[in-house]
Symmetry: C2
Subunit: 307 residues, 2 copies
Amino acid sequence: MTILLNNDGYWHDKYRAALAKHLPERKVVEFDDDYDKADIEYALVWKHPDGDLPLYPNLKAVFSLGSGTDYLDAHKALPTAPIFRLIDPNMADDMALYTLYWIIHFQRQIEVLRQQQRKAIWQRYPTPLAHEVKVCVLGQGAIGGHIANVLSRNGFETFGWSRSPKSLDGVNSVVGLEALQTVLPDMDVVVCMLPAKPLTHKFLNKDIFERMKKGVSLINISRGSVVDEDDLLSALNQGQIGAAALDVFAIEPLPKSSPFWGHPNVHVTPHMSGATNADTAVEIIAQNIKLFEVGTMPNYRYEREGI
Amino acid sequence: MTILLNNDGYWHDKYRAALAKHLPERKVVEFDDDYDKADIEYALVWKHPDGDLPLYPNLKAVFSLGSGTDYLDAHKALPTAPIFRLIDPNMADDMALYTLYWIIHFQRQIEVLRQQQRKAIWQRYPTPLAHEVKVCVLGQGAIGGHIANVLSRNGFETFGWSRSPKSLDGVNSVVGLEALQTVLPDMDVVVCMLPAKPLTHKFLNKDIFERMKKGVSLINISRGSVVDEDDLLSALNQGQIGAAALDVFAIEPLPKSSPFWGHPNVHVTPHMSGATNADTAVEIIAQNIKLFEVGTMPNYRYEREGI
């Protein structure tokens, strides 16, 4: 009945406290502890070393401590036990508010207001109403769909791009590449929620930037590898992309030498759009373990395939 | 059947276009035009000169081009015809998004992220979830209540302070001064939506700032006269108020000499939280004129009394 904990080495104290609260009867060991692999039934992991989990003979299930699956995709050896992604509504809400913040920032030209303040200039200008601002969320998975919903609920004209049609209240479903190319020229803001997959690698490149409206704003909160960063920098320098809020990068931490840090139209945030909250994460996983133990398969099982 | 237009001299071209669209059969004159006062049946005005409107013998109704009534309160002579405030849901939405923007700004410490970016520092820190952030909206009129609703819908723990109890979905109703003093010490953000009235004059002063949590964030989007600006500056300098987003001031435009312009913890915006949109404003007023002409009293009639 032992649980293995390895959140990439971070915040184990918070996870231990949350486990003590939500699964008080379970023994918890950390990856660096001295323990018998045969005792481990459940593993709560993030960026766990490739090849380790298949060595646990009594492993029943793995609970990833995030929603992204790129580190699992990169593993050569996965255990036969099912793996579940963490879809925490709190994290989805958090990412939606992060997105909403930057959309309002761009809608109201807050940088202009900041410049005016520095010069003590009182100058009003018209700003579009929310329903006059068109936003497309690329990727309509559990979190991308939630973000589109939140944007729509706050009045923005919202589009959601996905492989298969989605029926989300107030969100215009855009399906397939051709349809995307048709709507892109009208978008004022593009939000990237595409997962890092072979098919999405550098999907946001020169070709797609050129299809966007001149001066479009870009928000990337999924993975840096989805963007061709050289092309993005050129598009920013040419004004094709007017501004960008970037939370994720091909290399993290973003190297000191990156031109994004000092770019006047780029907002860099350190992969903080939706942090995993240990308490709510473990609460969800505890419920899933209980479901699993009575024979019910939890949601969001990780599958190797698909973009 | 003539309509008088006087939006304080501003944007008359936009209002004329909107009137031509929504009330195409009506003649429109501007205050500076040469016209016979006896022809005027309806007046669409903002900050119209005191004493003028009572001189129109056939005036049926006055439609103010904003929600605030302080300029009407200051008038010595008002016409006997009813006066209606403009409550435009678009403006209320706009003000709610402005408020939401600054709440997220404070919640996520975006200024810290901006400083980190200037130094190319990649440093994460925990941010509270929305439901861990407590916000009180002072004033629960048509717009203040809407703002509280939007904040609650976006997950913030929302309180609304008003004279009489309100029943708004997800909003904790706080009634009376004693109850306000009880909840204030717990608030992370205070949003001022109080109208400018004798009772609210400099209501936000040293005494009330001292009851707030140290480091509280303040957002003022109603009227500058509700705040004692000297006390606010002291509270900011002492750190009692951690940050402020101020859209309104005792004197507007804010004088170049104001210390708010250069204060590191103050965000000055030029009374832009919710601009009147000529098209939607005139659309609402056109509907109200049609209601009025079939004997139905429109909503939001201006009353001289009350805070």
